[in-house]
Symmetry: none
């Protein structure tokens, strides 16, 4: 393993993200995931300043069994004019019993004067006093030099003096923070190189993504001599977020050969990033590098034919290294090759049947011209392929008719009620369902009508519903595309419907969703 | 203005994004936004290979009035063993009548051999022949050297030979493409510098974000001598997306002082990025640099008072430069100011009535928490303000009840029928309307019911209808937001409805749309 520090601040700086609010239980769950991933340090919060964070450190001592990571408590240097030993916030850091304390300190002359309202010398004394006190208490001390890059531009000598003061008092690391996030890689490289040369510090880097360069800035700092990298999972953080720690680590490990995490742990990166987004309830970003759902998804027909020959020609890294997968998307850009590949993914070998392949391709192109988009609806594409491959198969059920009524009186909430008439399992069934919307009502009625023949459908659930009006040149005369996601509790699939009538499009996607559920579960036609 | 090319490929490479599917009308709408932003070039698609793109260029000729941008058609070099003049795909590029043709060509030896399955010499000949043919046809030719960086690593001499072949045949630009997106800034800088030194080419750069470095890589290329930058709005694109053009441009213009867009146009960046995401129906990413909703949002706390004293200490750039705003997430100052401003825009002076202002603000905050978004629905905001300013006013009409039925038999198209019961002009009216969807039917029924009292409504038309399902918060049901655009033939306005039931949300927006039509026309309550 490289001796470069991988320092995670998801629980402290990441939690500054707009709309993100973590309970103590959430924080403990995330810390366990981070430890499993293998990061070196987990910054848990600011004990003393935030009661939730005080509780986090208390509970962490008994509830967290960290096997890899060391916990760090975040806090500030002591107040101006006081003594570290008497400062209740500094005491709270000791009381947290975290082995590492990360102190934030001012390193920008204007911030010292206008935000801290003290003298430059007293600010240095606050650094010296607080670092010395905490090291004497047996803590490893890291210093976050806030606004360092802007401070360096304003007064290089003073900014570097803060770094030296911390080191001479016993700090192990001084992390240079681009607090406002406005830096570009060249600037970061120059300043870090100077700090490394001019001081005896182990230099760290802490970046924000306001110029879209947080990852590149972190890499530039490492190239310039930084040996401690801070970041957050999924790039959570205030404004545009912090440096995405998994992207930085993956780049350093896969592109640069620096062994930061054990290979087997890096393979858990995709799963862990998604698990953490389940805890934060922030929807995963599909375009996220390395671990995003789309990160290794290919759509272009142009590429698909060659991907068959040599996948490495078309991906920048092996997705397996971070636990992700290459996926082929079917779309109107698609050629024969991408359909063939998609078929293979679904278990059909279409390579020996060019006629079938051409027929499927023509069908897909026709449907996509009418508004279908199969790259977002794998299950509907699977059903289409199945029908073409197997010829006209017996349907699981026949729909005689359906109807949905939505009404409201005065200011009352609207109610929807659906009636569905189907033939399944040799019987004609009429069922009625209610819902808080027409699609919800139709879903209930359809599954109730099919329940006698297919009790397996009971565990299905409609978990997402998306609507897009296409070619809205004349409002409701336009075509409506509906995407529905159905879950069986352990996995989920997307189906699509397109029609002039939004309810009809929804019905089509519902029927596909239920049908695919039956196919997937291996249920026979009854 | 700098002579650096700002080249947008949202409509071509951006459209490769998973789940993104643009109609010809969408593409025309986005092109108009791009032109308003002031980009130099708009790559519209691949005419000949994709029927939708052929149609786009045909309609662009009559429907788009570009004031700033030049249209570019994308295509490939001719097939191996043929002649450019005889290649139907090359002909389609000429037929598109786009002034610029951007040709994609292989520059990686292994791709030539295993994907193109031709010889290295024939690939060069394909470049020469196609570029020469198109320049002879009067087109400006740009070359996209696909997989250039990987190709350069595999065989530097051949990769550079492709660049030279294109330039010698008359190409104006050779854009070096990091097609797989695996590069880091240092590599990009080295290769671009070498290409600039070793060839006579005007070098361009085309990056993908697979290492999270698309923006930094684009900047590194410009530093190394590239004078043509490709990217997409909102970073749309395959896998992790393309370089976010607005971030690159904002960095170059604001941080580096390169005048790429007129200052007044850059101030439209936030609005245009959001307008384009309304067209693509991809939810805006709140953490997006510069234009994201959170990009200049500060969580109150430590720095709140200091930010008031000197905001520049806490933001990396003036948000006004890109048309964004600093937001304090706890303080309501920003909200108050914008409501006051909005009121003034609508003809109300609220500055003298802080109590009214506070009441409106509280109402807006409550509604926005429930999913309303008034920046997209001016007319609904106008009605809200009017109700608060004028107190409870007499309504134009009272709704007793409404109902809509949608049904289908077998494979027939679904039909919708609505019944609306209202009191207007002293009379109770029951009216029925049919439509190809429930909202269409409700619209017809409502306007028919109101016709006796308000014949002025006859000329109104529902011209756009948009639906978004808002992410359900933990433990609550999803909420549907409907935006409706209504036209009176000369102008149009947007109204909003939010409810658990999609039909109820639509009804709310319909009622606001009709009411605003009456207010706007100065019709008295009857």
């Amino acid at each position: 393993m490289s001796d470069l520090h991988v320092y995670d601040t998801t629980l402290r700086d990441g939690a500054q993200q707009e709309g993100l609010n973590l309970s103590v239980a959430d924080k403990l769950a995330i810390a366990a995931h981070l430890d499993e991933l293998g990061v070196g340090f987990i910054e848990g919060g600011w004990p003393g300043a935030n009661p939730k964070d005080t509780e986090f450190f208390a509970r962490a001592r008994t509830e967290l069994r960290l096997r890899n990571a060391t916990l760090a408590a975040f806090g500030a240097t002591r107040r101006a004019g006081g003594r570290a030993a008497d400062d209740p916030l500094v005491r709270a850091l000791v009381d947290s019993q975290a082995p590492v304390v990360t102190l934030v300190a001012k390193s920008h002359v204007r911030h010292v004067e206008s935000a801290l309202r003290t003298t430059l010398e007293e600010n240095l004394e606050m650094v010296r006093d607080t670092v010395s006190f905490l090291t004497a208490e047996g803590r490893r001390v890291f210093l976050d030099a806030e606004h360092f890059f802007d401070g360096y531009a304003a007064d290089r000598a003073y900014a570097l003096e803060v770094v030296s003061a911390a080191m001479e008092s016993g700090a192990e690391v001084v992390a240079l923070c681009d607090t406002n996030g406005g830096m570009l890689p060249g600037q970061v490289a120059d300043v870090v190189a100077d700090a490394v040369a001019a001081t005896s510090a182990r230099v760290g880097i802490h970046c924000h993504n306001d110029t879209g360069c947080a990852v590149a800035n972190s890499m530039a700092a490492v190239d310039a001599g930084a040996t401690h990298v801070q970041g957050t999972i999924n790039g959570y953080g205030e404004r545009t977020g912090n440096a995405d720690l998994l992207t930085v680590v993956s780049n350093l490990q896969i592109k640069r050969g620096l062994p930061l995490l054990e290979t087997e742990r890096l393979r858990e990166a995709t799963r862990i990033a998604h698990s953490i987004s389940e805890v934060t309830n922030v929807p995963p970003y599909s375009r996220q590098p390395y671990v995003g759902a789309s990160a290794f998804a290919h759509k272009a027909g142009l590429h698909a034919s060659a991907i068959k020959v040599d996948p490495d020609l078309y991906q920048h890294a092996d997705p397996g290294l971070v636990g992700n997968d290459m996926r082929m998307l079917v779309s109107d850009m698609a050629g024969r090759a991408s359909i063939e590949l998609k078929g293979r993914e679904l278990g059909y070998d279409l390579s020996g049947d060019p006629e079938l392949l051409a027929r499927v391709l023509a069908k897909v192109k026709d449907l996509e011209l009418r508004g279908y988009t199969f790259d977002a609806a794998d299950a509907s594409f699977d059903l289409l392929l199945r029908r073409e491959v197997e010829g006209t198969t017996q349907a699981f059920f026949d729909v005689e008719s359906w109807r949905v009524i939505t009404d409201a009186r005065g200011a009352e909430d609207a109610l929807s009620e659906a009636t569905v008439k189907v033939r399944a399992g040799g019987q004609r069934v009429v069922a009625t369902g209610e819902g808080n919307g027409p699609v919800n009502a139709l879903d209930h009625a359809l599954r109730q009508a099919l329940a006698p023949a297919y009790p397996e459908l009971d565990k299905l659930e409609l978990i997402d519903f998306r609507v897009r009006i296409l070619d809205a040149a004349h409002g409701t005369d336009a075509v409506t595309r509906v995407l529905i996601e159905t879950s069986d509790g352990s996995t989920s699939w997307e189906t699509i419907g397109v029609a002039g009538n939004i309810i009809e499009a929804s019905w089509e996607a519902l029927v596909d969703g239920v049908t695919y559920g039956l196919v997937r579960a291996g249920v026979p036609v009854r």
